[in-house]
Symmetry: C2
Subunit: 467 residues, 2 copies
């Protein structure tokens, strides 16, 4: 008869303890395949426990298949001779992966909106309102293309601020631009050849590749993407940022836009993916009209994100699909569930619809404009510029500019010397596919995240790098 030391069970429920003992005996072969277990009543009496306890233990063994129950005959041990106990993995005690302090005081590699510029109190108030007033819809599955409130708010925002006429039905919300690119890859399919700008947003190419779609680099000139090269590339769909090319800041002039439209309208399967990222930040004049607003043939897909305008950690992007593509998108991609939580969609919808987003953008823009002025001023007063060894290339837009430095230093020497001075640099050459054979070096100065009161110091360190 099965005998277990019931007193050794600690805090484990009685039925569970008995279940575990029998299971172990089965795994270890002490109870062998086909053997009949004592009846529930017998075992209960033997162990001095209630019949219900044994019933529960047996039920769990039956559910998991260690024991089979045969009506009127009893309980029999299953054949689990093949069972191997998994080695008890020692869980490495979690290293709280705090980023090592590398001594970097200024990181020009990326911009991130400063936390203090985020309207925490307002966001929280809207989130609270959303949670308490949001109604049942908030707890339901989100529509595949996103909450209607957010699509409505975006439709109005785009009309008033970007010159784009798009109905809420044309808008699709997604968890980041990369996610939406994935959907577009699947929409167009692997037989489609994509084109990206060189230099430009290389990651689009990496994503195409991961979806198995071919892609080509197309060079730019001072007016942006070269259309003859685009034609020669054989590409069907081109990704670009005509209002603010990354990272040069080039605005594509109307004549080149007309060439681009001619290219796209010439062949039925051709489309343009317009990434309007960063377009909110222009410091002089009015906003640059997106291609989408000038498209007469339904050939432009417009994308934008809140990574830059709110926070990179808020994973919300959206796209506007032209009417002819919309149907195809709905047919082939709408089986995918929405990837953004309804709580954040609803909060963002309120944030936009009540005008807080525009106010926030105005504040951000003011901050960046001042930041840019401070950075340009510090550079222009620095020996790098006054000596004529460096030139600033900037377009009064975005949150970065280019700085060309006349130097004999190799890239690795520059990086090393910058690191010693607490600076991490971003190189223009990295945005090129083809090697950039330049005299000297061109840096991408992402200035948004540099602390204002550190600018003088950072610029002086930057000068030191090239001394």
């Amino acid at each position: 008869m099965l005998t277990y030391d019931i007193s050794a069970r600690g805090k484990t429920p009685l039925y569970d303890y008995i279940y575990q003992c029998i299971r172990r005996d089965i795994i270890e072969g002490k109870l062998s395949s086909g053997e009949r277990l004592p009846s529930k009543r017998q075992l209960a009496e033997h162990l001095h426990v209630g019949v219900i306890t044994v019933t529960n233990a047996y039920a769990q063994l039956v559910t998991e298949g260690y024991v089979t129950s045969e009506e009127k005959r009893g309980y029999f041990v299953a054949d689990v001779k093949r069972y191997r106990q998994p080695a008890t993995k020692k869980t490495p005690k979690t290293k709280n992966k705090i980023e090592p302090d590398t001594g970097i005081i200024a990181d020009f590699r990326m911009n991130r909106p400063r936390r203090k510029l985020f309207p925490v109190a307002m966001w929280n108030k809207l989130m609270r309102e959303t949670l308490s007033e949001g109604g049942d819809a908030l707890w339901r599955t989100v529509p595949w293309n996103g909450l209607v409130e957010l699509r409505e708010a975006l439709s109005q925002y785009l009309r008033e601020n970007r010159g784009i006429e798009a109905t809420p039905e044309q808008i699709v919300i997604g968890a980041g631009t990369e996610y939406l690119y994935g959907r577009l890859m699947q929409l167009f399919g692997r037989a489609t050849t994509f084109a990206i700008e060189d230099p430009g947003y290389k990651k689009f190419g990496v994503i195409s590749e991961s979806y198995g779609a071919p892609w080509k680099y197309v060079p730019i000139d001072s007016a942006g993407l070269k259309i003859d090269a685009l034609e020669e590339s054989g590409a069907d769909v081109v990704h670009l940022s005509p209002a603010n090319h990354f990272p040069t800041g080039i605005v594509m002039p109307i004549t080149r836009r007309l060439d681009l439209f001619e290219w796209v309208n010439r062949v039925k399967k051709r489309y343009i993916i317009e990434d309007d990222y960063d377009s909110e930040f222009r410091y002089t004049g009015k906003f640059i009209l997106p291609l989408y607003a000038e498209d007469t043939q339904g050939k432009v897909i417009y994308l934008n994100t809140f990574s830059k305008s709110i926070a990179p950690s808020l994973r919300i992007s959206y796209m506007v699909l032209p009417e002819p593509l919309l149907r195809r998108y709905r047919e082939t991609q709408s089986f995918y569930s929405s990837t953004v939580s309804s709580f954040e969609q609803a909060t963002l919808a309120r944030f936009i619809a009540r005008g807080f987003f525009e106010r926030h953008l105005a504040r951000l823009k003011k901050y960046y404009r001042e930041q840019r002025a401070a950075m340009l001023h510090a550079l222009k007063c620095s020996p790098l510029i006054t000596s004529g060894r460096a030139v600033i290339m900037e377009r009064r837009a975005g949150t970065h500019f280019l700085l060309h430095v006349d130097t004999e230093l190799s890239r690795s020497a520059i990086e090393e010397r910058a690191k010693e001075r607490g600076i991490a640099l971003s190189f223009y050459a990295d945005y090129f596919h083809a090697p950039l054979n330049e005299e000297g070096v061109t840096l991408v100065i992402n200035y948004a995240a540099i602390a204002r009161d550190a600018i003088e110091d950072v610029v002086s360190r930057l000068c030191d790098v090239f001394e």
Copy 2:
């Protein structure tokens, strides 16, 4: 000389109005290609505006390329004869797409956690704490695999509640299970053949297809997936829910699990994707150990979601990758940015780490247990069961059970009659690939969302359908 009625500008800024007038004249050909514009000073005097206003108007025209500026020579009209004004689309006034009231009082097609069970106040408190205490990390780009706080909380939760030993480094957070499936498709590649259970979660097949990967249906028997059929299918990676097969609720017994492990361990490239969806809801006995916990060779990828346990509108799922796959995943998939906002990840981390999630689950489980009891009771007292024309098939788990009804009615007749009575039904046959040739009809009774006080009425309507 250009003459415009400045008084007609309304609220448009002066420079913008002049820019728009000149742009229109260029587009309409009133100013022709190559023509020289008046100097800034001349035009300013002519229009009685400041030189700075004209400077700004010209600057915008130059930026957009409607005009080119030649040093010392002046401003010249560009060639935009090809320009076509986009037709002013009439934006269809947004139809506030409120779902039409279809008169459905009971929808058995899907479960959704009831809103009132969601701990709104606690969630909001944690969200507020997160926003105010979260620190700079919250405003930075989220690590590709998710916030470390959430991965740590999940690691501990899995150890204590699911018998899974996984380090935070093995966990990847994603915006929904479908999103993570997409990453796995790309990890394994299009040369991999997937297998899914028949009946089962068909959407996995649709997703495979959209990624261009072949997939096979493999039938189940009373112990779950048939391993000989799996072997014959030639599949490399199988998707299944061994702790609670969908929609039958079958628990895969240990003997079948051992067969499955033998299958997976036999060939290097074979893997198991274990979808542990719904496993939190077992009403008798203890939880069923996931395959992941019994895997000795690093062959099981574990997935779970908060759709069911918190809300379908919270788009957070996670997976645990076994060590050998982790490196490959990191190498090939970590370039994708995280798809879940840091605010919700950090809030969920607190919710789990402080024990609120377990308490919430206990409450949900109690609610569902009572709901299930009420539904079973009402059915057992109903003429459908008392007359012997229907049989309940349920496994004391999940949030649905199967109901087989002996009837001569066709499916469309059943649907029609149900609709007339305000009921939307879910059919077991829909989860099958192969046609299910059954006598009568088997319904999937998703009872979670039915209002408690409506159960009697709903069951009586259901009986009426088959009268």
